[in-house]
């Protein structure tokens, strides 16, 4: 298992989009999503397509990487398109007929519309994870959840848990690889038999992996205790995220413009 040097989708380059506060990006994307679902014509989608293209260009993220997720959605897109376009023994005028199945022009239009919306949603929202590090995301989450602390939600602790989970993903992946190699050396096979056999072959990998994770958790708890961790209260941060005037401008103007596209078209 190769562990990438940067975990997740993050593309480590400098761009005006990268330097925005994560909360700004989350806010703008929320409004983008809302607007996208309000839009009910191709004009609206066209508008959003232009916006997504411009932001993608400004983010210096290679389009190939941004579109990677779309390919994974291929089946869903095809299904959406066909489910709308195809009619069984169509009564209406059809574009094309193969036996009892026909393509309905109105349905095709709707299918293309929905498929386009999925693609835009996918690419638009992935710009968040492509331009924001996991740590920035957890910090933003903590900050956005802070009002909920008044209701007793442990926002600081939740963010800390997420950070630690992110921290230990590569470690756990490396460890899983070591266990797999160790079990392979002792004759375990992971590449033969049916689905059930293969899944069962991983039991001897998961057991030591979990045992080790518990041991790690114990050590980590000691280390955190030793370094005076006592929950989120009174904690300061090395990188305190600050909303700059630019962030507010992008959030308010950008968000309003995105929403306006959806309402107008």
């Amino acid at each position: 298992m190769r562990v990438p040097s940067t975990f997740g989708q993050y593309v480590p380059v400098d761009s005006p989009v990268h330097s925005l506060d994560a909360r700004t990006k989350i806010g703008v994307i929320a409004l983008f999503t809302l607007g996208l679902f309000l839009a009910d014509g191709f004009a609206g989608l066209g508008g959003y397509a232009v916006v997504v293209a411009v932001v993608l260009w400004a983010s210096h993220v290679p389009p190939r990487i941004a579109l990677r997720g779309v390919r994974a959605l291929g089946v869903l897109l095809l299904f959406t398109l066909l489910a709308h376009a195809l009619r069984w023994q169509p009564a209406t005028v059809t574009l094309l007929r193969v036996g009892p199945i026909g393509v309905d022009p109105e349905g095709l239009r709707t299918g293309v519309f929905f498929a386009m919306r999925i693609v835009l949603l996918m690419v638009g929202t992935s710009l968040l994870t492509l331009t924001t590090t996991p740590v920035q995301l957890t910090d933003a989450l903590e900050s956005l959840m802070r009002p909920a602390s008044a209701l007793g939600v442990p926002s600081g602790e939740i963010a800390m848990m997420l950070t630690i989970a992110l921290r230990f993903i590569p470690t756990t992946a490396q460890e899983a690889e070591r266990v797999i190699i160790a079990q392979t050396a002792r004759g375990a096979r992971f590449d033969e038999g049916g689905l059930v056999t293969r899944v069962r072959a991983y039991v001897p990998v998961l057991v030591p992996l979990f045992v080790n994770l518990f041991r790690r958790a114990e050590d980590l708890a000691l280390a955190m205790d030793s370094r005076c961790y006592r929950g989120g209260r009174g904690r300061t941060r090395l990188h305190a995220a600050i909303m700059t005037p630019r962030d507010w401008l992008v959030l308010l103007l950008g968000g309003a413009a995105l929403l306006a596209i959806g309402i107008t078209f």
Partner: protein
């Protein structure tokens, strides 16, 4: 000063105490080495030193504060850094500088001050320039030095290191030992727990534990004088010291004290 006074600890449900009436001091700018076999109570004693455990009998005082005093616990832990054997398991941050910042963040230090401390601490362990490195991209020795930096950023007066070199290769081990010596030279009191006498031959004081009790308390020179006695305590002397003993026994004249390998070569080649 960390003062262990007749400190004892019994784990819940255990029949015999893990540590039994140990008295020792960790002094600023001095290196105290703690040796002993597995199960001798070394790690338990280490945890008594920064209030991760509180003694069942006797007392442990850190700069005069009793570790039993719950109000003093955070003050004590900020004065006593603690690092463990497995470097991987004590790193909290997703990149080096965030991990070093973890302690000061918990203490509520202001952001610009944390920045200064983080850079200083990384510099002190020879990891300057590794600020944005991810932990899994570091070697074992680098990770252990990162853990030391994490403790240093809290500006501790003492550092307790529980077998910090046990999982490292020779290069990583030498780097970690160098970092610990550097701390001693800048006035930090270091308690170094180890299996290897050669890691701590320059200690200011060595105590050896067996079954929770102190069986030796003295200087390294006093410990290596009698290889038979050291071995009976489960301590294997480094090869060059054993060789020197044998040579002396057979009438070869060598300089006094316990020679380093280089000194031994120097003394032997004219023969």
């Amino acid at each position: 000063m960390i003062v262990f006074e007749q400190a004892g600890f019994v784990y819940p449900g255990a029949s015999a105490p893990a540590v039994d009436g140990v008295s020792v001091e960790v002094e600023p700018g001095r290196l105290l080495a703690l040796l002993g076999a597995n199960g001798s109570g070394k790690s338990t004693l280490a945890r008594l030193g920064n209030a991760l455990l509180v003694p069942s009998t006797g007392t442990v005082l850190v700069d005069g504060m009793d570790t039993r005093d719950e109000d003093a616990v955070w003050d004590i832990r900020s004065r006593v850094g603690f690092i463990q054997q497995n470097p991987e398991n004590q790193i909290v941050g997703t990149i080096a500088e965030e991990d070093v910042a973890f302690g000061p963040e918990n203490l509520g230090v202001a952001a610009h001050e944390i920045r200064i401390r983080v850079d200083e601490a990384l510099e002190a362990v020879g990891l300057a320039g590794f600020q944005r490195r991810e932990p899994h991209m570091l070697s074992g020795g680098q990770k252990q030095r990162l853990a030391i930096a994490g403790a240093l950023a809290m500006r501790p007066s003492y550092l307790i290191a529980d077998e910090p070199t046990a999982m490292l290769d020779p290069v990583g081990r030498a780097d970690v030992l160098r970092s610990l010596r550097h701390l001693r030279s800048v006035g930090v009191g270091v308690m170094h727990i180890t299996h290897h006498l050669e890691d701590v031959l320059d200690a200011d004081r060595i105590i050896v534990l067996s079954l929770g009790r102190t069986v030796f308390d003295g200087t390294p020179a006093e410990l290596v004088v009698d290889p038979g006695r050291a071995l009976s305590m489960g301590i294997e002397l480094p090869a060059e010291i054993l060789l020197a003993h044998e040579l002396r026994r057979h009438g070869v004249r060598l300089p006094d004290g316990h020679p380093a390998p280089e000194d031994l070569v120097e003394a032997l080649w004219p023969l």
